[in-house]
């Protein structure tokens, strides 16, 4: 138990053949998946819009919002897989980037309310309530849709870059990094709980009315948002597939497996980690921006450490380093959560806790690894301990 088992690096390596530099690219499984995914993506809103509510084929509002929400979560899961599955960096604070994207776009949605708020004022309701006379500087320009979208990507990216620059340069790794990301998201949550921060304090943003002039509750708007979420997920998957199979991705995986060796070969591991980290944060920001108009609220609760760590379990359940797995994981866990919290709410936390334990103990490669494991039943001694780098006491 004490010494690392000399098991070949699993995970990512199980999918990509070792040392593929110079070899022909493996065809991405995404190509085969794209068409059915697109079909489903348009079928769901079509069934929502075109069938009558009492038809057997009709999909309800609730269903559309739920799946749309999970599509956003899936994007976050893919972004998480990029840094955890391929970079070996476990972030326990990815909810921060998601929420920052959500807040950025939420500012636009707040401005779109116009004078239809409870106070019929130009300023958002919570500012009137706080007796503010004008918009804080960081609210300037948020009435522009495009600027809000830019913010939703740029703010998480900037925060991630600033944090990552110092953290990776200090060679903060492993458990250290994870805990510090958790502290980061916790501090941010406290910051956003304050009224003075200028983001609605405890209540956050809600009661949205319009987006680009369209009613935010109309079925068509919802359907469009749903399709956009799906397209974002598709784009995120393609991007990460391409990235992880590129030269960049191979160095990243090498950093994950043997950081010191990569450094000795002349690479700067921190640059690769930082790049992956920032890209991951930007994807989360976009997902947050699409999430907020669909669920209709964003508040500091999104930044609670518990939410962020749940992202890790989506990835773990689906299977790290597989990109498709995390999508699967996001759907399985969140559908289970929706079902359990409405049918037996007292047991959901037991179940979630058990899931954390069971997956790490018995299913280290997630659902995606289950298939491979079942197939290789004949050959003994699969699974068990994972990557060599993990076995280091992660002291920096």
């Amino acid at each position: 138990m004490q010494t690392p088992d000399p098991v070949p690096a699993a995970g990512m390596a199980a999918n990509a053949p070792p040392s593929t530099i110079g070899l022909p690219q493996v065809r991405s499984p995404m190509v085969a998946l794209t068409l059915p995914f697109l079909l489903a993506l348009f079928l769901v809103p079509a069934l929502h819009l075109l069938t009558s509510p009492d038809s057997a084929l009709h999909l309800s509002d609730f269903f559309l919002t739920l799946v749309g929400k999970i599509l956003c979560y899936a994007v976050v899961a893919v972004a998480m897989d990029l840094i955890w599955g391929f970079g070996g960096i476990l972030s326990l604070g990815h909810g921060l980037f998601f929420a920052l994207g959500g807040y950025s776009f939420g500012m636009y949605l707040m401005r779109q309310i116009g004078r239809d708020g409870s106070y019929h004022a130009d300023l958002p309701d919570f500012m009137v309530f706080l007796d503010w006379k004008e918009l804080p500087w960081f609210w300037q320009g948020t009435d522009q849709f495009l600027w809000a979208v830019v913010l939703a990507v740029a703010v998480p990216a900037a925060v991630a870059a600033a944090f990552g620059f110092f953290a990776f340069r200090s060679r903060i790794r492993g458990v250290y990094f994870s805990i510090i990301t958790q502290a980061l998201v916790y501090a941010a949550m406290l910051l956003f709980f304050r009224n003075e921060t200028g983001f609605g304090g405890n209540n956050g943003f809600t009661d949205f009315k319009r987006i680009l002039g369209f009613s935010i509750t109309s079925p068509v708007t919802r359907s469009v948002l749903f399709v956009l979420s799906g397209l974002l997920l598709l784009a995120a998957l393609h991007l990460t597939f391409w990235l992880t199979r590129s030269r960049f991705g191979r160095v990243l995986a090498a950093v994950r497996d043997a950081e010191t060796r990569v450094m000795f070969l002349g690479y700067r591991p921190e640059d690769y980690k930082l790049a992956a980290w920032v890209i991951s944060a930007m994807l989360c920001g976009l997902a947050g921006a699409l999430y907020v108009p669909q669920v209709g609220i964003i508040n500091p609760g999104e930044m609670s450490p518990a939410n962020s760590i749940e992202i890790a379990i989506w990835v773990a359940v689906g299977g790290r380093g597989t990109l498709i797995g995390p999508v699967l994981g996001a759907f399985v866990v969140n559908l289970a959560k929706t079902y359990c919290t409405s049918h037996f709410p007292d047991y959901w936390l037991f179940l979630l806790g058990a899931l954390f334990v069971a997956v790490t103990l018995y299913l280290p490669e997630g659902l995606m690894g289950l298939r491979a494991r079942l197939a290789s039943r004949a050959t003994p001694q699969q699974g068990g301990s994972r990557r060599a780098s993990d076995t280091h006491r992660s002291r920096t």
Binding site: M1, Q2, T3, P4, D5, L90, L92, F166, A167, R169, S170, R171, I172, G174, V175, Y176, S178, I179, I180, Q182, A183, L184, Y186, A187, L190, L191, F193, R194, P305, I309, A312, I313, A316, D346, L349, F350, L352, G353, A354, L355, F356, V357, V359, T360, L361, P364, S385, R386, D390, T391, H392, R393, S394, R395, T396
Partner: protein
């Protein structure tokens, strides 16, 4: 001739008062001698509301024993007027309020005795007047209630008496209220000289509430320039004294926070040192310990109410054992199978913490439960008016020191400690020389959990006990471990106290949230400069 003489005497009296006031300024202030009982009663029966109010105040200051009886009668609407004479009803008899003698009232009198009306304003004065008398009560509770009553809008003539009472007062809190009330009364005096006098005395005070009283006098609300100037000086004096008191107070709360952090982090430092895993359920061991205290409290309440005050003595072993046993179970079932996979351990132990939290909710309900301080832990040690140290925090600091000493002894002076240190430093080598490392893992984990359980018992005395209480501590304890260096008790102590004090000092200047962020930034920068923590271990294992 006569008015002239009167004026002269008054002047003499006033200057005499002022002179004595200079010597002992708060003790004697120019108060016109209270009108005799007869005059006061006459004004009371009159129509002028100001005169009636003044009469009540005079009665309060009157040395005449019957004055208080009149005031009590006023409060109970028991003062009557009959033929321009003030009467009290005692039993069946009418008694003169002035002389106490029975006054015959014919049953068939044309105008029977009429109740003296007491409006709200007068009633307020009466209550204050009686409170002034209550300051002489032997009962502390009565005196404190009276002082509190007087502290809002204290009547100006009462100032001297309140100051005297404050000096004689044995209860520190009551004395403080009284001093403040006396000062307030003096500062409200229409006489600028009196205000100046009051300011001169008050400048020596170190109480925040006095500073708040003086502040209005520095503004243009105060007509007299000299008083404004004196008020400014007094305010700076007080604020300076307050600043130091405040600083000491912050240092103390910082130490208190540090000792809690230490109790939380000691266990984590041991498990992290030995096994290199961060146990995200560590905070839940605190929670288990705290619920242990709660359970003991309930048990003592039911079966040994006489020993109620000592339930904590039972709570300590119970909290330790409950947390340690939970630790053993978790280690055997989960953590041990994840050695060498620290990131997965993080997730699995997070899952365990969710299960433990939900279990606590199921067992004890989702609400916070109340754990009472026994009498020997409640109350405060008052060093100066601005430096009040609650006993529970003082005792917890002492407790943390005791736990630290025990842990140190265990680690340095016992065979188990030797093994634990050996495994921390070099696991394969320790195994080679015959240390049963797996057994040591289990024991170390149990020990770490048990210490957290003890911390939980302590925590139950100063904060809420609820299912989620442990969650906030994991990040902070980890910071302590990171700062202190792995497997270093001395480092953990210094880091815990340093973080606690730094957090509280920063909170004073920046508010709690910014302080938290600053501490976080500091830790990140610190790791950059000294990745091994405050006390780096030397040797090869450091880069294992």
């Amino acid at each position: 001739m006569q008015p002239l003489l009167m004026r002269f005497l008054l002047l003499l009296g006033l200057s005499l008062c002022l002179l004595t006031a200079r010597a002992e300024p708060l003790r004697a202030t120019p108060v016109p001698p209270p009108a005799p009982l007869a005059a006061a009663l006459a004004s009371l029966l009159g129509d002028d509301p100001d005169a009636r109010s003044q009469a009540v105040l005079d009665l309060a200051l009157s040395p005449d024993v019957r004055a208080r009886t009149v005031l009590q009668a006023l409060r109970e609407d028991g003062l009557f007027v009959f033929n321009t004479q003030a009467l009290l009803l005692t039993g069946e008899q009418w008694v003169s309020a002035q002389s106490g003698q029975v006054v015959p009232v014919p049953a068939d009198a044309a105008a029977p005795p009429e109740q003296v009306t007491v409006n709200n304003r007068l009633r307020g004065d009466v209550v204050k007047a009686l409170a002034l008398g209550d300051l002489r009560s032997p009962d502390v509770a009565v005196r404190r209630a009276a002082a509190t009553e007087l502290s809002s809008e204290p009547p100006i003539p009462f100032a001297a008496r309140m100051a005297l009472a404050a000096q004689a007062e044995s209860d520190a809190e009551t004395a403080q209220i009284l001093r403040r009330a006396a000062a307030q009364a003096l500062l409200a005096s229409p006489d600028a000289g009196v205000r100046l006098q009051a300011l001169a005395t008050l400048a020596g005070s170190g109480e925040p509430s006095i500073a708040a009283l003086i502040r209005p006098l520095t503004t243009s609300a105060e007509p007299d320039a000299a008083v404004r100037e004196a008020a400014r000086h007094a305010l700076t004096d007080i604020q300076q004294r307050l600043f130091w008191g405040d600083l000491l107070d912050r240092l103390f709360t910082g130490l208190s926070l540090g000792s809690i952090l230490l109790l939380a982090a000691l266990g984590l430092a041991i498990t992290y040192g030995v096994m290199g895993v961060i146990n995200m359920a560590h905070g839940e061991f605190l929670m288990i310990g705290a619920y242990g205290a709660y359970a003991m409290q309930g048990l003592f309440q039911q079966h040994a109410p006489g020993l109620q005050a000592w339930y904590l003595a039972a709570a300590l072993p119970v909290g330790f054992l409950a947390a340690a046993l939970t630790g053993v179970v978790l280690e055997r079932l989960v953590v041990r199978h994840l050695y060498g996979r620290p990131l997965e351990t993080l997730l699995a132990t997070w899952g365990l913490s969710l299960i433990l939290i939900q279990a606590a909710r199921a067992l004890f309900g989702p609400q916070n439960v109340s754990v009472a301080n026994p009498f020997w832990m409640s109350g405060s040690l008052i060093l100066t008016p601005s430096l009040v140290l609650p006993w529970n925090r003082l005792l917890i600091i002492a407790f943390a020191v005791a736990v630290l000493a025990l842990t140190w002894g265990l680690m340095q002076r016992t065979r188990l400690g030797l093994y634990v240190r050996a495994v921390t430093q070099n696991r394969p080598m320790a195994a080679c020389v015959g240390v049963a490392t797996q057994r040591i893992d289990t024991l170390a984990f149990a020990l770490g959990a048990g210490i957290a359980g003890l911390g939980g018992v302590a925590l139950s005395q100063i904060s809420n006990v609820g299912p989620e209480m442990g969650q906030g501590y994991i990040v902070d304890s980890f910071m302590v471990v990171v700062l202190g260096g792995v497997g270093q008790l001395a480092g953990a102590v210094l880091a815990a106290l340093g973080l606690g004090v730094a957090t509280k000092l920063l909170e004073g200047w920046t508010g709690a949230v910014i302080a938290k962020i600053l501490v976080l930034v500091f830790v990140i920068v610190f790791i950059q400069k000294r990745p091994q923590g405050l006390f780096a271990q030397r040797g090869r294992h450091a880069d294992a």
